[in-house]
């Protein structure tokens, strides 16, 4: 990977460098000698040039930890990812007491389909909101009435009043365009940026109501993620890790409707090698969130994502299902679909990364 230094992993409790264990574990998995020890569970990734390594320990690990965006301990797993993986069928079967259990697979086709369906639902909801919001303005503009125009009919208006009128329309126009753009997912992000920046930002914000403000913030949030990613990764590879950490965390905190657009916009702004690195970092963040939550709630449960060759293996290895495909109801019940989805995503990202690393599918 051009210009990138080696990424190392260290143990957050004492700074011990874990790379050797991690690589060793991955090799075991790739050689088919699984299950392997969980070698990088809770490990913190960092670019080598940032680490002061001595006798197998990162001396400045506390400083690095302080600078590194990390998920908070005990974080409540958000449900934003629930829709992203279709577990509905499986969960229904469980509730109905059926003995036929289908382990949910995680193929791109299924993922895309579930996602597409959710997008449609989201779009319908957003369209409804937008219609309500603009209906008053539209009604005024769409009138059937027609009045004769008399260009000679003039009214005296103070310049201050004239400027105020222009500004009101300008702010409204910017807000509407921004709203439409933000709701337009990936392609809308650039439009949101353009339209919003063309307007006077301060006045535009001042004129927005709470809902408009929220949408504007979301648009900026997404845009910032993309811009930061592009700016630092393209022009300052040394900041790659830190920025990616921040990107991953930002994306995780986005609302449902912007999670995927942000993620894929980030992906689209990169070449394949960088996409793999981002996969790695995002996967790690998601992985750590799930992992820490699991450790806190159930110290005996091992959760492993890195190195799983497929999602079935992931489920089995972590005890969500047994080797016959029977689910561990307690784990499902305890951790919920959102958490499973996070694991699933991390496992899939890592799976793809490993496959790519070894020459593709």
């Amino acid at each position: 990977m051009a210009n990138y230094s080696k990424q190392i992993f260290f143990r957050p409790t004492d700074g011990k460098v874990l790379n050797e264990d991690w690589e060793s574990a991955r090799k075991q998995i790739m050689d088919g000698n699984s299950p392997s020890p969980i070698s990088n569970r809770g490990a913190v990734p960092v670019r080598e040039e940032f680490a002061d390594i001595k006798d197998g320990y990162v001396v400045n690990y506390q400083e690095l930890l302080a600078k590194t965006p990390r998920p908070k301990m005990g974080i409540e797993i958000p449900n934003y990812q629930e829709h992203r993986i279709s577990y509905d069928d499986t969960m229904k079967r469980e509730k109905q007491g059926s003995k036929t259990i289908e382990v949910p697979s995680f193929t791109n086709e299924k993922y895309d389909h579930a996602h597409e369906e959710q997008r449609k639902t989201d779009d319908e909801r957003k369209t409804k909101q937008l219609k309500k919001k603009m209906s008053k303005f539209n009604d005024k503009c769409l009138s059937d009435a027609s009045v004769a125009r008399d260009r000679n009919h003039k009214t005296k208006v103070e310049e201050k009043r004239f400027n105020e009128a222009k500004k009101k329309i300008k702010v409204f126009a910017a807000g509407v365009l921004l709203t439409i753009a933000v709701m337009g997912s990936v392609k809308g992000i650039d439009a949101a940026k353009d339209s919003f920046e063309r307007a006077d930002t301060r006045h535009a914000i001042a004129a927005m109501d709470e809902e408009e403000m929220a949408r504007a913030n979301q648009g900026y949030h997404v845009r910032d993620i993309v811009e930061r990613n592009t700016r630092y990764i393209d022009h300052d590879p040394n900041k790659f890790f830190y920025e990616n950490g921040a990107i991953a965390n930002d994306i995780l905190e986005l609302p449902d409707e912007l999670f995927e657009p942000a993620l894929f916009t980030v992906y689209e702004s990169m070449g394949p090698n960088r996409q793999n690195d981002v996969n790695d970092n995002i996967g790690n963040v998601i992985y750590n969130i799930g992992n820490r939550a699991t450790i806190e709630e159930n110290p005996t449960a091992y959760v492993e994502t890195n190195g799983c060759r497929n999602f079935d293996e992931f489920l089995i290895r972590n005890g969500f299902v047994d080797e016959n495909g029977m689910p561990n109801y307690e784990l499902y019940e305890n951790y919920g679909r959102g958490l499973l989805s996070a694991y699933n995503n991390a496992a899939n990202l890592e799976y793809d990364r490993l496959i790519n690393e070894h020459g593709g599918r």
């Binding site: 303005f137 503009c141 004769a148 009214t155 208006v157 105020e164 222009k166 126009a173 509407v176 063309r198």
Partner: protein, 70 residues
């Protein structure tokens, strides 16, 4: 300053604060929060101020306005 004004069907008087292509951006002379977009239509030798025909046209008009204020 003297601006062209028109009394619309609701009885309110609006001044034309801007005209872009055939779109007219009107502001209520007594209430700057009341504004709308109409368009100029020429029929024979007379001009009329009419409503827009679609929401897409409204968005287009807003876009033009936004761009004009860069």
């Amino acid at each position: 300053m003297n601006l062209e004004s028109v009394t619309l069907e609701n009885g309110n008087e609006y001044v034309i604060v801007k005209e872009i292509n055939d779109y007219l951006y009107l502001s209520n002379i007594n209430n700057p929060d009341d504004f709308l977009v109409r368009k100029n239509v020429v029929i024979g030798d007379k001009e009329y101020i009419q409503g827009l025909s679609s929401k897409e046209e409204i968005n287009e008009a807003l876009k033009l306005y936004n761009e004009s204020e860069e």
